[in-house]
Symmetry: C2
Subunit: 352 residues, 2 copies
């Protein structure tokens, strides 16, 4: 077994504290990875505080993992020792259902998430990337180009693919007018990716303080969503709006900005329901409200390659793992531009 | 001017009563039609009682019109005197916007509806098909095959196209599993059309009394939507569900029956909002909730030709126009299988 150091939550109310556990020895198809960086996703906080009601403690969060391969199983063909790799939200799936067969493992009915998920291989619960190393089946390991800064690439594994996948699925490209709602960890990636895909990008935010930054990140226009008049000027003009805001809010003010056949895509689950959206808004222009969930492994690799080609990474603030609890509090206040990434070397506990 | 006899509502609380008015003489592009039959749509009742707040009295309802051509303007090329024709929900549109250019006149921002709409040609308000004749621009007149019973074809002009258009837009065909929610005027057409397109059709109803009829109409299965266990057996199995029920209800029980990438399409605007649909239900299988509105003129003709080819008409109960107020009361109790059609000859007021 592989002794592994980590930070873990032991109940819904306490801080994350140092923790140790054993990873399995790599099996034939496994890649063993020393973790360099791990991004901090808002869902880490939801899980740690049991806000989704599915916490199985101790929880070692983290699903935006960048590391170096240190060992490979006998059947591993695609990865070499020393290579930089990534691990995202999934470490296993059934491999046989229609979703898995279609390379959309995120929709598998029996997925194994990177943390707080039943570990069908080793038993118990999976532990995530706030840890010194991880052992993952090669199907769920991603290649990370040397062109990408490894710390800033970490958030691509969740925030990146969560925004890339719907933009690709709804075939966004040159000539399209795309809205991105919210400029947080997801939203800032949405702006960068939609811009790189050639779309005319409009960022919606409630905060005037974000205008300059949104433009720097690639937004062609910024609309203050509380300004009804500014919103009205964009009526019936959007092909697609990617809504990254999970807090309950009025969706109608966005659906009515869509053209005929336009789609409002939600990627966040609100704690309390959104006000019921207007059915007339959908019917009278054949619009749609859809949802999208991260992405499959094939598409995640495609996204990482796209980011390497277009020189896209996340805007990050690197923290030592000892600052994780403070980082959670700052994340709750949206006081981060735009993603915390943990420098895992600060665990100060070399793997042996 | 053409003296025209009709039934009209004069305020939100009174019955429809006999009424006379003048139609315009046909202009170059107009087709003059003696009306034979007019279907009774639930929206007639909404408008007459001002439940949508846009009533302009007097209202002559009716937008499921079948008649015979009695005169044509000098520029009319597609229609002959004596031909059986139809008129649906629209009698004009701007003809220049992107929606009109794409043959989707139903989404035009300045449409002229067949009744209770600003009449941009003659001034005043348009009067519908509960009347002895109508004069309509040829672009908005449909050919009706002699193969179709003219009375039973009338509801195709609204109930038919409202269900045909989304089934076609979402490319329903052989191998697809399609749900139809509600067995009323729209729903019974949805069952017939989806069946004729080759889909496996499941009818959802709250009423066990409709099971036999649904099967006779073409449903392969009938599910009582109040039976949670029966619903669960269809989880994750539908490609598309067409929801014809306008009354507010829980949409989640239908979205969770959709496969990944499946669509729940709404064609009715509820008086009070549906309970806010679960966003997680959308995200975790990339499902969509969409709306659809009647259909464009090109697609309406395609639907009529499809119905002629497949021998599809509405199940109707023919009434004399003197029974229209009683028919409204019965419609409110769903006491009709499945559409009332007015025999306009009962106006007993020949056009002169």
């Amino acid at each position: 077994m592989l002794k592994t150091h980590a930070y873990a939550a032991h109940n819904a109310n306490s801080n994350l504290t140092p923790f140790s556990f054993d990873r399995r020895e790599p099996r034939a198809n496994d890649v063993q990875i020393d973790i360099l960086y791990c991004g901090v996703c808002h869902s880490d906080l939801h899980q740690v505080r049991n806000e989704w009601g599915s916490a199985s403690y101790p929880i070692v969060p983290g699903h935006e993992i960048i590391g170096k391969v240190t060992a490979i199983g006998s059947a591993v063909s695609g990865f070499k020792i020393g290579e930089t790799v990534g691990v995202g939200c999934l470490v296993d799936s059934c491999r046989t259902c229609p979703d898995c067969q279609d390379n959309l493992e995120q929709f598998c009915n029996t997925p194994t998430f990177t943390y707080n998920s039943e570990d069908k291989v080793s038993g118990g619960t999976t532990y995530g990337g706030y840890s010194s190393r991880i052992v993952v089946d090669q199907h769920f390991v991603l290649h990370i180009s040397d062109k990408l800064d490894p710390a800033a690439a970490a958030p691509l594994l969740c925030a990146g693919i969560t925004t890339y996948s719907p933009l690709r699925h709804w075939k966004i490209g040159k000539g399209d007018k795309v809205g991105i709602v919210g400029l947080g960890g997801l939203g800032h990636m949405g702006v960068k990716l939609a811009h790189a895909m050639g779309a005319h990008v409009v960022l919606f935010t409630t905060s005037t303080s974000k205008i300059d930054d949104a433009k720097r990140l690639g937004a062609d226009e910024v609309v203050i969503s509380k300004d009804a008049e500014a919103m009205q000027q964009h009526r019936l003009s959007f092909d697609f709006i990617l809504n990254t805001v999970a807090a309950a809010h009025n969706l109608d003010s966005f659906t009515e900005l869509l053209k005929r056949d336009g789609t409002l895509c939600l990627v966040g689950v609100p704690d309390s329901p959104h006000p019921s959206p207007s059915v007339a808004n959908l019917i009278f222009k054949r619009r749609q409200i859809a949802g999208s969930l991260i992405g499959g492994l094939k598409e995640t690799q495609e996204m990482l390659d796209f980011c390497a080609e277009h020189n896209i990474v996340s805007d990050i603030e690197i923290i030592p793992i000892q600052h994780i609890n403070e980082a959670y509090e700052r994340m709750l206040k949206s006081d981060v531009k735009y993603r915390f990434v943990i420098d895992i070397s600060t665990l100060n506990a070399p793997n042996s």
